[in-house]
Amino acid sequence: MRRPFLRYVTLRTLIFLATIFTAFTLTFLILKAMPTDIVKNMVARSMAVAGAALGNPEQIQKMYDMYYEMFGLKGSLMEQYIGFVRRFLTMDFGISILARPATVREIISYKLPWTVALLTFSTIIAWVVGNILGAVASLIEGKKLSKFLQALAITLYPIPYYVFALILTYVFAYLIPLFSLAPVRMPENIFSLEFLLTILRVMTLPALSIIIIGALGWWFLSSRALGLNILSEDFYWYGEIRGLPGAILLKKYLLKNIMMPQITALSLNLGTIFGGALLTEMLFNFPGLGLLLYQAVNAGDYPLVLGIVSLSIIGVAVASYILDLVYPLIDPRVRYR
């Protein structure tokens, strides 16, 4: 392995670790910065909810201990911090009030696959479609279609996309009741057609919402801008002048050069994309972590909220890390120094 690559990996790993620890430490510091009554107040409120819900005194005590330990009401500062971080890293937040008697970890791992599926699927499609559309738009720059797409993208882009999601909901759930927003019941048999159809019914609207806003909004605009730049480059002209057919120019000259920086852009935006996905889930009652988070917040289920947030931070950091490590292997300019 070449030296510069090794250096890159080390640096990136450090940033990865720093991200996770910064987030956790920040939370810890904010908690510590608050007057103790606030914390005690929170614990008390949580315990009240827990008490009503859990009933079992032993579990209640366990929860109280966890809070006590986590929110710095016992032990030295260092011990508190270590305990805090440990819990965040292992997502050990005890029993979820909402999903009792399941632990936070259990309920999260149950809902996680949904979110991962929706997120991966929609993001990848939005990225690919958006980039291709943008590349094509840059080629037909000046023609009516391009101007139309451009105008469409500019209008869609600034509008926060839950508005769009809301419109979709209204249209497809109320007006044309194709998809229902009711909580879904998964058929037993994973390999049945019914299972597949249920998944389709549940996933379509949220996925569509993410894909349309992503593809026609940000990815389209940035890809088109990159495309316009590339079209003015000498090497593109040289490709044209050699009589290479349009298909090759599009694929190997335009798209390939657009994709590289867009991969980096993807990695940088993962946090935002993830947040958007969570929001979409809440709007469409999609049975993933987003909806879970919403329910947890409304029920005052602090442990669950902390668990989901912790997972989010770690998840996004890991995904971004992997993407950043893979990128140099794809982009020849970085790979061969």
Binding site: F235, W237, I241, K256, P332
Partner: protein, 331 residues
Amino acid sequence: MSSFPIIVKNLSGGYLIGLNGTKKYVDAVNNVNFKLEENQIIGIAGESGCGKSTLLKMLYGYLKPPLIVRKGEVLLQRKSGSGYIDVLKMNPEERKKQVWWKYISWIPQNSMNVLNPVTRIRDHFTEVLKVHMKLEGKDADELAKSYLSNVGLSEDIMNAFPHQLSGGMRQRIVIALSLITKPKVVLADEPTTAVDVITQRAILQLLANVQKELKNIIIVVSHDLSILAMLSHKIAIMYAGKIVEMGPLDMVFENPAHPYTKMLLNSLPKLGDKSAKKGVSGSPPDLASPPPGCRFHPRCQECLSLCKSKEPPFLEVEKDHFVACFLYERR
């Protein structure tokens, strides 16, 4: 009866520019005529702005607006030998498929930056070979390697990416690419402008060698007379969109006919000559509104009153040596 792979007749063209509502026509190439026999290198010399780059674009058929062709023909002899293709009358798609890189190729000025950064060298060749010669796979690779060695590069670089190679190497690759489909005419746009003197020499040597081997026509455009002197068999001097003198290299250099050519040659340093060099006084005219008559007359030391109003005809002074100047008009 010798054959002429390329014939240019009455070629005129330029740029239609619209600034703030008013349209201006920049007359970049005006009434250019020549026909070239096989197996030679012709150099086209001229100052910046004289229209030589535009001429290349027109010869190639790369007519991106605002470049337009006013009149004239660029004829390329068909490979079958009978008849000619009129480059300018074809529709762009056909031209791209049938003419470019098959009959005529181009070595661009900025060779360092014309290779696709995300494509390997091997693939650069495969692209061209597949599209134009229907050659793929091993055969394509072998051919590419042979051309690479012809330009002095080892076959190891086939797998490399452009940024891994030096500027000089990239230039050679571009030259190899321009020759691999064996076009009859190769256009070279300022091939030595962006490089140091030593590389310059190497490239000129390379061009001369490949031309000798492949026996094609290379049209080299440059503002540097000295490199054209090293390379060309025939030379044409261009001024303000017009060819003012053309002929075999030795004749033009030893017996320059046009006053402009004389000025240019005088400004070149010669071995042993210790006299002070005179630069060429004045500056080229604005091609949007060129001077009437002979376009050089405002700067010409030997200007006659006729030159101010009428355009000089293209006259033969010696065998194959032509000049556009009234000084040589016999009454």
